[in-house]
Symmetry: C2
């Protein structure tokens, strides 16, 4: 039987790396971490990834770690923030130390990719679940869901459908770009930074475009008209209620559009004042109409 | 079937309270919270409380919330910090909205008692587990585990054994002070504040006095000699490896002892230079001797 101490040892070298981060005054190993935020506003979010809900049962431990952390980090990108440090609350019933070593490897890969410190965590016995706490700082102003104005254009940062197809490909053991994206989602920090000074609202597409856009509309007290054909999506994917893509959906006024090149940012519609969300086809015919926001929730 | 939105509504009035906290720039409802730490060092810890491990199966939802939060806050007290805000990652398979309403009631009770804001969280379906993220600021300097010096006196802040007896009383349906303390542990903020300028090391007794004191000795590269009869403990409790009391164990040099009144602070021994932990009876006979620290882990 492995002990908690054995498990914690598999993370020790990662926590040790926070010694090089001068803002981390006390890292892990004590009762709590102490961080000098240096008069910057702290941005914090928490996200739970659970076996069978957020990743399939036979997902590899390094992929579980990487995916759970990347998904949590995506909330920072959606807020116009970059990561600085994280803590992990791991619930796990694995009995082999190799599992934890591989999980730790996935944490390390994500640290190398996204440049943050691991400053602590907790571990308890139970069905596999990863509670990731992410902390960061703003690029510029916070990107809220509540700032969209009628007339603003609606953009998304990439093709939708990889989340859905990636999971299907995993089940079919079919290697694909979508599977890679499912294993290693990319929080959109670069694009978040680029738009952070001029986007009027922003959300990451984790629950599906329609639901996430609804959340912008609801919190901004506006509606939206989107053109189905303008939404970049994988062939065969037509369910806009499927999430897990972690692209950003944001709004901005006409005057800023010149800052958004067409290869990276896709205009899919416009904010309206009527508090309805309407999905049109290319001939301006209504494909889907929802009266009010609550019906989407 | 209740929806995630229904569940989140049971916490909305609590999150709303953070509007009154001027340091919370954006509370919950968006992708992440934004907090102005105002150039103060942030202290952060994460703690998971799991059904059957940290509380019994038939524990009431308000008690689950209160106890989980109080235990997590105890790490801040151990660090010489007071609470400011928290987030909760709740995994739960309860299907009745009343359960969440009562859980929310327990969160509210702890907010009233310990004065912090709730700024966000996540909820997912699964076996009951509460991942509590606590955030606070230092009273003075951080109280580390690593500052104990040979000759320092070792103190604890209260009687041990309530954690163990409280759980037994819960199982026997026996109302008692211990049961009340088990349901509502008290993070020792007042005493933490009092000692924070002069304690040389500190830990909260969550894993048992011997194990927690070992952690101070290990991180301070020292040993300890403690007198069994000087340890205040409930009658019938003699297992010093049982935790869950959440009293503080701290060390300080002789010159500060006059600041510690004997009703609130109990001297149980002294730090030594020999890297061993020795438990003596009143006649200075060895009751328990451990050579080195690892054997305790």
């Amino acid at each position: 039987m492995i002990s908690e101490t054995d498990i914690l040892k598999t993370f020790q070298h990662l926590v040790k790396r926070s010694d090089a981060d001068e803002s981390i005054i006390i890292g892990s190993g004590d009762d709590a971490a102490v961080i000098n935020t240096k008069d910057k506003c702290l941005v914090h979010s928490v996200d739970i990834s659970k076996i069978n809900s957020h990743f399939p049962r036979n997902f590899l431990p390094n992929d579980i770690a990487y995916r759970s952390i990347a998904i949590a980090l995506s909330d920072l990108a959606a807020m116009g923030a970059y990561p600085s440090f994280i803590t992990i609350g791991l619930t796990c019933d694995e009995k082999k130390i190799e599992w934890y070593e591989r999980f730790s490897k996935g944490v390390e890969e994500s640290m190398n990719e996204f440049n943050f410190s691991l400053v602590g965590g907790d571990i308890t016995y139970g069905e596999l679940s990863v509670c990731v706490n992410v902390f960061g700082y703003l690029f510029d102003k916070p990107l809220l869901r509540s700032g969209a104005k009628p007339g603003d254009k609606i953009f998304i940062t990439g093709q939708l459908g990889h989340g859905q197809k990636g999971l299907e490909d995993f089940k079919r053991k079919n290697d694909s770009i979508s599977l890679e994206k499912f294993k290693k989602p990319t929080p959109q920090f670069k694009k978040s930074k680029h738009i952070s000074s001029f986007a009027s609202s922003c959300v990451d597409i984790s629950d599906g475009l329609i639901k996430d856009l609804t959340s912008i509309c609801s919190m901004s007290q506006v509606g939206a008209k989107i053109i189905y054909e303008d939404i970049p999506k994988l062939r065969g994917i037509d369910d806009l209620s499927y999430g897990d893509d972690f692209e950003l959906c944001f709004t901005t006024s006409d005057k800023n559009i010149k800052q958004l090149n067409k290869d990276d940012y896709f205009c899919i519609g416009e904010i309206t004042s009527d508090k309805e969300i309407t999905l049109l086809n290319a001939n301006n015919e209504v494909k889907l109409e929802k009266d009010g926001w609550d019906s989407f929730k």
